[in-house]
Symmetry: C2
Subunit: 341 residues, 2 copies
DNA sequence: CTGAAAGCGCTTACAG
DNA sequence: CTGAAAGCGCTTACAG
């Protein structure tokens, strides 16, 4: 590989001058800069990442901690991040955190401590309290995306509001037997997204006078949604509507309805969360989020944090009504406060 | 950050000894090794990636060049790669190559030349000849996954065989009016995947006595497949079967059939390529590939290449028959060589 | 504006 | 088996 000395020789200057000409830092005459850059381009010279990082303490690299690389939502977020990082000269290194405790420890205690990255984007993982501590101890600018812990600086979607919007949409249509498919433990909400959505659902139902609204846990996959919905539909009191914690779960529910010969939305209304690209084809009503844009904003936010600026804030969502939701068969829409005379 | 000297001090040895104790290279007494490792663990010390890379020339990092981060197939490949790299202590840095020429140049001429990675995995991109040259000039172990150029060492699927399997499946069922939705230019096949699939389709059709079998170009998305299929179905001579170059295109075709009130498979048979997780729900017949496993093999192969070993080879595929294909309405299966008396 | 030199944090022959 | 020292390839005060 050609090094800085080769360029220096070719341009007839010192390595120091090459460094200045290429980085743009420090004073340098226009003529020299032009000459050096030409020589560098000619030789195809690019500054060594390792040497530069060692000398400056700046790696020009952002780490992205992801839970699962194979979900549509995260793939889109990643694409959004990449689209903003590259033009600014940053690379992106992925750290995938699985469920396996020793693997997680490896990421938190080893990989992330190698100093390979200048900042971190953490995608909505369910992080334990001590994991958040270890993340924070890295002493790196961190931007969570809808992240789990209140202690993590983050761009957030108001997940309670998301769940409320979905649930109220169904209630407004006149549904009462509404079930939720998602995740999250019983009891206090917990700050992870699945828990917040579940909690938002159940508290909205409770506010509408329906305590203990049914909940069925599922993986956030089509497969998981399919299985859970089948269980609900085959149960003693099948719901007339399902609020699925993700669009992929919702697709699974739609397939389950098809498998049981149910008409959507007449027999079963389904609403999801995400704004999945396939939603349109399925006619799925959903609370759309905008993962690509979320990724872009997260990238901008870490980069801003590197310069000491704060670009955190709220993330948008929007109810998109399509054909998977309607009044229940024979049901009457009860609009709050609109009691008929 | 705590450095090697802190550990040396804590363990009462020199930095050199710490380095040896931690890396396992060089001779060192067991007692010292244990003491040093304890001190390092105690201090939470991890070797600096930049310093280590600079000193050894080894970055412990693999670059993955991807076309689009938001396709199901690539997300799965990535997940497979990550699952094999992490346990071996390698990080993974992503380089997304878009269609934009200046962006591609940036990746090839700048990002990849920073020396940040020890090896490269290139996911099935359509690379121009000079781009392959520049990739090769990096002088890095490269493993292509179903890559484009014959000059790139790669794990390959026999794409002509894939297309033939799909097409012959349809022909065997008795279809004659079969259309292909995909990509690839006219004329000589070209070595990119879409072209190979298209070519495999058309030559198989030609062999069956059907020259100039219809082809409609599309993006490799549901949206693209939907549009293209609609165009075919609304055409003068709608096909009785569609061979889609990807499952996502196939899903689009399935939705198009639904939109036109056509029964699948009675009115329209559809076969895809990929083995998409949703295929089962759609009942999609497909030529399954195994992206996660492909990613694992690619990771193993670069790592092997780093050690001078060659683990390249062929990638598997398999026809998975589901309910989206059958004989055409009123059609008769013509099995080659079984002319009825 | 430009260069010589020290330093970034490790690793690894070279001695002992 | 262990340490002192040079070196990896840059960057950046410090002089001039």
């Amino acid at each position: 590989m050609t090094g800085i000395d080769d360029v220096a020789r070719a341009a007839g200057v010192s390595a120091a001058t090459v460094s200045r000409a290429l980085s743009g830092r420090g004073r340098i005459s226009d003529a020299t800069r032009v000459r050096v850059r030409a020589a560098a381009a000619e030789l195809g010279y690019v500054v060594s990442a390792a040497a530069s990082a060692l000398a400056t303490g700046h790696a020009a690299n952002i780490g992205v901690v992801v839970p699962l690389l194979d979900r549509w939502f995260f793939a889109n977020v990643l694409d959004g991040i990449a689209s903003r990082l590259a033009p600014r000269g940053y690379d992106m290194t992925l750290y995938s955190m699985s469920e396996d405790p020793s693997q997680r420890d490896g990421v938190l205690d080893v990989s992330l401590r190698r100093g390979r990255v200048d900042g971190l984007i953490v995608l909505s993982l369910t992080l334990a309290d001590d994991e958040v501590d270890r993340l924070l101890a890295l002493d790196l600018p961190v931007v969570g995306l809808s992240a789990t812990s209140a202690r993590l600086p983050a761009l957030r979607v108001d997940e309670l509001a998301v769940a409320r919007a979905a649930t109220e949409h169904l209630l407004r249509l006149g549904h009462r037997r509404i079930a939720h498919i998602g995740a999250g433990h019983d009891g206090e909400p917990g700050l992870d997204i699945p828990s917040l959505r579940r909690h938002g659902f159940q508290s909205t139902m409770a506010d509408a006078g329906i305590p203990n609204a049914p909940f069925t846990p599922a993986d956030f996959t089509i497969e998981g949604g399919h299985r859970a919905a089948l269980a609900l539909l085959d149960g003693a009191e099948p719901p007339t509507a399902i609020f699925a914690a993700s669009d992929e779960i919702a697709f699974g529910a739609l397939f389950a309805a098809r498998d049981r010969g149910l008409d959507v939305p007449a027999d079963l209304s389904v609403v999801g969360v995400d704004g999945h690209e396939m939603g349109d084809f399925f006619g799925l009503t959903t609370i759309a989020q905008f993962p690509h844009e979320q990724g872009e904003r997260a990238a901008d936010a870490v980069l801003a944090a590197l310069e000491g600026r704060d670009e955190l804030g709220d993330l948008a969502f929007r109810l998109v009504e399509r054909s998977s939701t309607s009044r229940p068969r024979g049901g009457v829409a009860e609009v709050a406060g609109t009691s008929a005379p």
